[in-house]
């Protein structure tokens, strides 16, 4: 809260560069993990973070602080991450038709179960994928997710429940 107060003052005072520096220092790590939870690969999360901060810098003078700085930045990262996934789905498929994912990311050394889980997630509708990833990988509280995605907590819980059911069935088939 204290941060927000200072940041608002800097925003109103037009100290955009100093404010941007503060935002990078304070939020880059959190935003990276948010991006990684959605895209799963390190190189993609890195791209998303870069693009997001370019957008943050450009939009900073126009930001009216109606939501918190964090919510605003998380929304930007979410949009960028989803845009990257869409682009990769369209153009980034591998020779075998599969989408690159954590399973072939050199910065992933999780067990086979996670890799299998990721493949099952890919087959979900976009909204369910997002809710499941934010909840499962990032352990984001529903209230926070509700604020971020402009969706009621009830709808998010239902979405997560459906996603979990579908994934369980998929994994059983694999």
């Amino acid at each position: 809260m204290e941060d927000q107060k200072h940041w608002n003052q800097w925003l109103q005072g037009g100290k955009h560069q100093a404010l941007f520096k503060e935002l990078v220092q304070a939020a880059s790590e959190k935003l990276y993990w948010h991006a990684r939870a959605i895209v799963l690969r390190h190189d993609w999360a890195d791209d998303v973070l870069q693009e997001s901060f370019v957008r943050i810098w450009k939009a900073l003078p126009k930001f009216r602080a109606e939501s918190s700085f964090y919510t605003w930045m998380y929304r930007i990262v979410t949009r960028e991450a989803l845009a990257l996934l869409k682009k990769e789905q369209r153009y980034g498929k591998l020779e075998d038709g599969q989408l690159p994912g954590a399973w072939n990311d050199p910065f992933f050394d999780g067990d086979q179960a996670i890799a299998t889980l990721e493949r099952a997630i890919h087959e979900l509708p976009e909204k369910q994928q997002l809710v499941f990833k934010l909840r499962y990988f990032q352990e984001m509280p529903y209230e926070e997710m509700s604020d971020l995605l402009n969706t009621s907590t009830g709808a998010l819980k239902a979405s997560f429940h459906h996603a979990k059911e579908k994934i369980t069935q998929k994994i059983k088939k694999l």
Binding site: Q17, Q25, A37, F53, F107, G110, D111
Partner: protein, 125 residues
Amino acid sequence: MESKGFKIPEDYFHHKNKELLAISEEKSRPKLRSLSFGVIAAAASMILALFLWPQDQVTPITNLPTENLSAYLIEQEELFTHYPQHRLELYSLGDSLNLEKLDSNLILDYLDESLYLDTYESFTL
């Protein structure tokens, strides 16, 4: 997420933050700098062109080709329209009157008269 096997390169955030901070430094450079460079370059080119552009040179009349002179004179035919009428009459009469047989006094009188007319015209013009 790290507990689930998602890793990052060593010192990733240290390097990444430097890269991210560079966004604001790069994007906040005044556009005026590039603009003024462009303006200066354009101005310099114009000044250079002004000095190097071929100036109007005066060519002595003796160096002009005959065809150019003829063409110029034809274009300036308006001059002939202002040629004194009495001289034109004299020239036109010349052939038919056979001037060689004319009395020299008559010729002198005529020339005196013409001289008077020329002088008169020069005062009245």
